[in-house]
């Protein structure tokens, strides 16, 4: 994935602050993912393709999403993995 630490090369005092910020942001993101379980999610893919599915889970690196009942243009896929690289955004109702 991406940067491990932007602060490491500049200032050792920055590191605890950066790690704190990282943990606050990540916790909030994980709670958001958790609340998405079993919800209908609409994925916006490249070339304006939109597909709907029921959200299951994400892997820790956010590389794949596991979904059920993926509505594709050629039919409904009971279970599927969506590559996050193919996704621009996704929406759901909370």
């Amino acid at each position: 994935s991406i940067v491990t630490s932007a602060a490491s090369e500049t200032d050792a005092e920055q590191l605890p602050k950066e790690q704190h910020a990282r943990s606050v942001l990540r916790e909030s993101f994980l709670r958001c993912l958790l609340s998405m379980t079993n919800k209908k999610v609409r994925f916006h893919l490249h070339e304006r393709v939109k597909v709907e599915a029921t959200f299951g889970a994400s892997d820790i690196d956010v590389l794949n999403f596991q979904v059920s009942d993926l509505h594709t243009p050629i039919g409904v896929q009971k279970e599927a993995l969506i590559r996050c690289q193919d996704v621009i955004s996704f929406t759901f109702e909370a």
Partner: protein, 97 residues
């Protein structure tokens, strides 16, 4: 702000939290919303739009697709509170003794 969003790092991402932002991602696509958080692993943004009838619409924009993030305004106390308690489990939401 024109930027290489995934490379900013947590200290810069956290400055965008609780702000209303406009995000450009994909081809000529723009999204607006209150920024709840940025995933430090994938740099994905979580945008929340509250509805008048209650509830909220949540958009997650993947970090790799982000082209531009622009801050529109800051949240007032009420919006901040509403935003940050949106996904807390109901047990910890009530902290009254």
């Amino acid at each position: 702000m024109q930027c290489d969003w995934p490379l900013l790092g947590p200290l810069k991402w956290i400055r965008y939290v609780n702000k209303q932002v406009k995000v450009k991602a994909g081809k000529d696509e723009e999204r607006c919303g209150w920024l709840l958080t940025v995933d430090p692993v994938s740099a994905s943004l979580v945008l929340v739009n509250f509805k008048e009838e209650g509830g909220a619409s949540v958009q997650v924009v993947m970090g790799h697709a982000v082209e531009e993030v622009e801050v529109l305004r800051e949240a007032d106390d009420e919006t901040t509170e509403r935003l940050q308690t949106s996904f807390l489990p109901s047990k910890t939401r009530r902290l009254d003794p």
